[in-house]
Amino acid sequence: MWAAVLAACAACYLLKLAGMSVPPAVLEHPAVERVADLIPVALLAALVAVQVFASGSGLVLDARLAGLAFAVVALALRAPFLVVVFGAALVAALLRLAA
């Protein structure tokens, strides 16, 4: 675990440093810009889906979906990050308690 943690930290730092140091012409290409903008969108959307619906190698609907539904409403109402995150946890926890 430690090796992966440190390698990921090093990679993230070098990516930041590269942007600050590399001449812009090397990376400033419209396709590169588009892909780099879309990567966080694609990965975060996939992470949401997998976190909420995956259970091992199966897909399930459980209390996590209610947590996500709360998050959608809270975000639409411009609630702060911590309200979104811990509110989703609370909704899921209460639902499990009731079940």
């Binding site: 090796a3 992966a4 943690v5 440190l6 990921a8 930290c9 990679a11 993230c12 730092y13 990516l15 930041k16 440093l17 942007g19 600050m20 140091s21 590399v22 990376l27 400033e28 419209p30 810009e33 588009r34 892909v35 780099a36 903008d37 879309l38 990567i39 966080p40 969108v41 694609a42 990965l43 975060l44 959307a45 996939a46 992470l47 889906a49 997998v50 976190q51 909420v52 190698s57 897909l59 209390a63 209610a66 996500l68 709360f70 998050a71 959608v72 975000l75 702060p80 990050f81 911590l82 979104v84 995150v85 811990f86 509110g87 989703a88 946890a89 609370l90 909704v91 926890a93 499990r96």
Partner: protein, 269 residues
């Protein structure tokens, strides 16, 4: 150190400092959720704090623990985190000509290139103002984020099964909150739905960790197949007070092409 730019007035400096520190504190407290979720995902307190100290980019940190919690190898967590870290490279490209830092200073500055420090400096119209916004935001997020991570990790340590407290649902909510500001754009919405579908389709037939990485291919494909100018997207920082920052809402359209980024925007001495 020759700096041809005009000095900031004390008043301008104070206003930028105040806004930046407000954003820094508001963002930093998210660290509580990261710390708590990380230890209940199976990381030690030390590993959790190492991520906040050394990786210091929230989405990548959440991705790392999310992938690990799903039962995948830590290395697919690392790869996902690095992929998400690529957006900081783009931020650096925008910041470098504006901040104009010497090479040794860049080594330190690079570490605090994140969504919030970028958002609070790229809208400034002089190097001096951009530097104040960058450092004040970056450093205040860094301090608060790390303290909050430690507090969350220590609090999470005694919790036991994260499912009892719904913390598994909290991770999905955290990713959605990070994604949310990017969903105003129609193309991003399409990519998000495609990526989520690809990931879910792969869950039953691939090892944990693979579905998320494979969804990154959707970004590659759509990015390669579409065309048109695309300014770097920098999510709005939380609680940024628009009336202190008249350029705030311009981040989406003030710079539709990158060709002028060789020189700082204005300065106007």
């Amino acid at each position: 150190m020759s700096d041809p730019e005009p000095e900031l007035t004390a008043r301008e400096r104070r206003a930028i400092l105040r806004d930046s520190i407000a954003v820094g504190v508001a963002t930093g407290v998210y660290g509580v959720s990261f710390g708590a979720i990380a230890v209940t995902s199976g990381l030690t307190v030390a590993q959790t704090c190492a991520l906040s100290l050394l990786m210091f980019t929230g989405a990548s940190q959440f991705a790392f623990i999310g992938v690990v919690a799903a039962g995948a190898s830590p290395w697919s967590g690392a790869l996902t985190a690095a992929l998400l870290g690529t957006r900081n490279t783009l931020y650096g490209l925008r910041l470098a000509p504006l901040l104009r830092l010497s090479a040794p200073v860049r080594l330190g500055a690079a570490h605090v290139v994140i969504d919030e420090s970028t958002a609070m400096s790229v809208t400034r119209d002089s190097t001096a103002a951009a530097r104040v916004g960058f450092w004040a935001t970056g450093l205040s997020v860094f301090v608060c984020w790390n303290l909050a991570t430690l507090a969350g990790a220590l609090a999470g340590e005694g919790l036991g099964d994260p499912r009892t407290y719904g913390l598994d649902a909290a991770v999905g909510a955290a990713f959605l909150a990070l994604l949310w500001p990017r969903l105003r754009d129609r193309r991003n919405q399409v990519v998000a739905v495609l990526a989520a579908s690809v990931a879910l389709g792969l869950v039953p037939i691939t090892a944990a960790g693979v579905p998320v990485l494979a969804a990154g291919a959707v970004a590659l494909l759509v990015g390669a197949l579409t065309r048109g100018a695309d300014p770097t997207e920098i999510p709005e920082p939380p609680h940024a007070d628009p009336h202190h920052d008249p350029h705030h809402s311009d981040t989406d359209d003030s710079d539709p092409h990158q060709s002028d980024s060789q020189g700082p925007a204005g300065g106007g001495a």
